[in-house]
Subunit: 431 residues, 2 copies
């Protein structure tokens, strides 16, 4: 039987006492005639259908462990300061919160005034970005995705580049345009490949896609010039989120010779608001795929861990009521682990900072039903998907994309909630 | 004749009253036995061999124009808030500072106490990064550099990719590892291409290079989803700095298929501490190269402006006393202007923020003596450079690289100072 909270948590909830994911929220503005106040962002933890306001808990002096009792880390508009403290502080916070919310503890349970101040119905809060993102890196760690992209763009001969089995390939992404789940996605404009001798296409992208990814959120990080040893990489990862690396395939294909993706990606990247900690994911740890060839020593780890996190993508077509499942994949399919990604990222001395986002790359599986983006699912629009009677090759205006991910325990779940975004039409231009 | 300051400015100085570049500094710590204080970073302006402390000027109430009189923008550890205010505030600040430092004004000149507090010898300050960099983008705007790189890596047939003449190609860079001039550069470790069937090379890079670039520092920027019209792009650029995009060519070549440069660049990027404003550069504006084919409307501007900024790279080999000039180039050679770069960057709705850095890409000229990196100068180590008797193909430990750039007016200069870095040996590893 799972842990029991004094708060009623449905067995289907993503957020039981075993999970306790961290986010940043603000109470929704109560409209008053005279003073429309906007509440300050503050850290919170999800429990069932409630959010526990950690700034209130901290101000009440309930973080009384040695590492957190004098910390201001929960009186901040982001989790960055908490992330910087590292795993011992994270464990202390988790123990404190799990005890406070437990049915066996009276501190919060029997203090009606504190309960009212600190526990807010999820519907009454607005979720914000959980971290200030200094840098965002996107990896390319699914072998199936790599093989499919290679085949589509460069043909079936050696679709996986030679370097891919030796290092986790990655590129720098755009930090400024990372947005939280629920933010609308404006269809980007840009250039596409010219036909014949005419100038390049210019206009709204005709190939708007999602990419099913997850991302590691970096903890303490490292100084410039120092590398993080792979056996210590785990302690630099706070937790995971869902990530949608929205992609404009026509813009991307035309611009990215020879320096890689740029405007085809930088218009928006969506992450889920709740960071699920590695502590909460521990029961779902599993062996990562065997690697052949064996990686270089700096990428070799004693135990290669992935997590068994079933993932789903649903698309709700414009004007329709129902969302259709378009793919089912799993985080455990990744060839390069998040600890390998992090060790590789710092091997040249590059400094990671608290709150940095390391995207896994599109997580595709081996089957037709487990491909992580429309490019693969429709084979670059050669086929169409049937969404409950509506046909799609790429995304159309008004379509909504919904990611979800959830680990199944014996009698409880550890879930990520959803990561959603609705496509809005491109803005018009005069010139 | 140039403008005259009451401060003695040598005719060779990069920083006369016509320049007034902005930076962030802190007074050097005076060692005291009891309390080693570290002074707070604050904005300053260079004048001759002095730095004017803008936090002192602001606190004295001397920024009395309508836009700045109540602003806290000079009581900050970075210039970001000032950059956000936009060109009208920048012009007001420039007029105020130019007047205060002028021989014709008595306010500062005749206030010995304020002079002493606000004017610090450059030798007594430590220069810091002038901005907090949210995102760093590196463009690829020199046709000569593009052609040479293409020839070296892909052969002499069509060395310039087809897209290059239609858009300013770029990639996202790493913001965290941007450092200020004078910071030592630790030789990065990483993987290089394997030979035959052996595993990839791993160790310190054997092909450490510099890249002679400049960078535009972004002002107000734009909201996510909105583009900046090219005719308004100028007002979003505060000024320019020198930028050294240190590159490990072996790491870069092996890792960058298919997503572009990553660890071959992210170990360090150096910028000069002084941002020279577009106002100061105005007398050196010149026509940018004609473009054929004509760019798409969103990249077409009424007047295409570059600036005539002669640039030089010197290398001081390890153990030697003298630095040798290895290249002479010029900012005015760039095919894509900084306003085109900025308009392109936002055409997909990507948001720019104050303090963002837009690197131009390596600025190579048409001649052997004007190539902007060692890759080109030594044709990927096929040749060697003779540095006053010392031979170099790529950089060796202990080498120091010095960039400088300076516009020549009738009887004054508007210069950038230097952008320097010394190469330190790679850190060793146990595994
Ligand atoms: Ca991706
Ligand atoms: Ca570059
Ligand atoms: Mg993206
Ligand atoms: Mg760099
Ligand atoms: Ni960044």
């Amino acid at each position: 039987m799972g842990l029991e909270s004094f708060i009623d948590v449905s067995p289907d909830s993503h957020f039981p006492l075993e999970n306790l994911p961290y986010g940043v929220f603000r109470p929704k503005t109560i409209c008053r005639e005279s003073s429309p106040e906007v509440a300050a962002p503050r850290p919170g933890v999800a429990i069932g259908d409630y959010v526990l306001d950690l700034s209130v808990i901290a101000s009440a002096g309930l973080f009384d462990g040695p590492l957190l009792k004098d910390s201001r880390c929960f009186n901040q508009p982001s989790l960055n300061l908490f992330l910087e403290l590292g795993r011992p502080a994270w464990k202390e916070a988790r123990a404190t919160i799990q005890k406070l919310l437990s049915v066996d503890d009276s501190t919060l349970q029997e203090d009606a005034s504190l309960r009212k101040k600190s526990l807010l119905p999820m519907n009454d809060v607005e979720m914000l970005l959980p971290v200030e993102v200094g840098d965002y890196t996107d990896f390319f760690c699914s072998m199936y995705h790599t093989k499919n992209c290679g085949t589509i763009f460069r043909g079936p001969v050696n679709p996986i580049p030679q370097n891919w089995f030796h290092l986790p390939v990655a590129y720098h992404g755009r930090a400024s345009s990372i947005v939280v789940s629920g933010t609308n996605i404006i269809r980007p404009r840009g250039q596409g490949h010219p036909t014949g001798s005419s100038p390049p296409y210019f206009g709204p992208t005709k190939k708007l896609d999602f990419e099913l990814e997850m991302a590691a959120i970096v903890g303490p990080g490292n100084e410039l010039g120092k590398s993080i040893d792979i056996e210590e990489a785990y302690d630099h990862i706070f937790g995971l989120v869902l990530l949608n690396d929205w992609s404009a395939r026509d813009i991307q294909a035309w611009e990215s010779i020879p320096l890689g993706p740029f405007l085809g990606k930088s218009f928006s990247t969506t992450i889920s608001p709740w960071i699920v900690t590695l502590e909460a994911l521990e029961p779902f740890a599993c062996d990562a795929p065997k690697q052949d060839p064996h990686p270089l020593p700096y990428l070799s780890e004693k135990r290669r861990i992935n997590y068994d996190i079933p993932l789903e993508v649903l698309v709700k077509p414009a004007g329709e009521e129902l969302a259709s499942v378009v793919t089912k994949s799993n985080f455990k399919l990744l060839y390069w682990t998040i600890t390998q990604q992090l060790a590789h990222h710092t091997i040249n001395g590059c400094n990671l900072r608290p709150g940095d986002v390391l995207g896994t790359g599109t997580i595709s599986g081996p089957d037709k039903e487990s491909l992580g983006c429309l490019l693969e699912l429709t084979w670059n629009a050669q086929n169409q998907l049937d969404l409950n009677g509506t046909a799609r090759s790429f995304l159309e205006d008004g379509d909504e994309v919904i990611f979800t991910g959830c680990c199944q325990g014996e009698d409880y779940k550890v879930g990520f909630g959803t990561c959603t975004g609705k496509v809005l039409p491109a803005i018009s231009i005069d010139k």
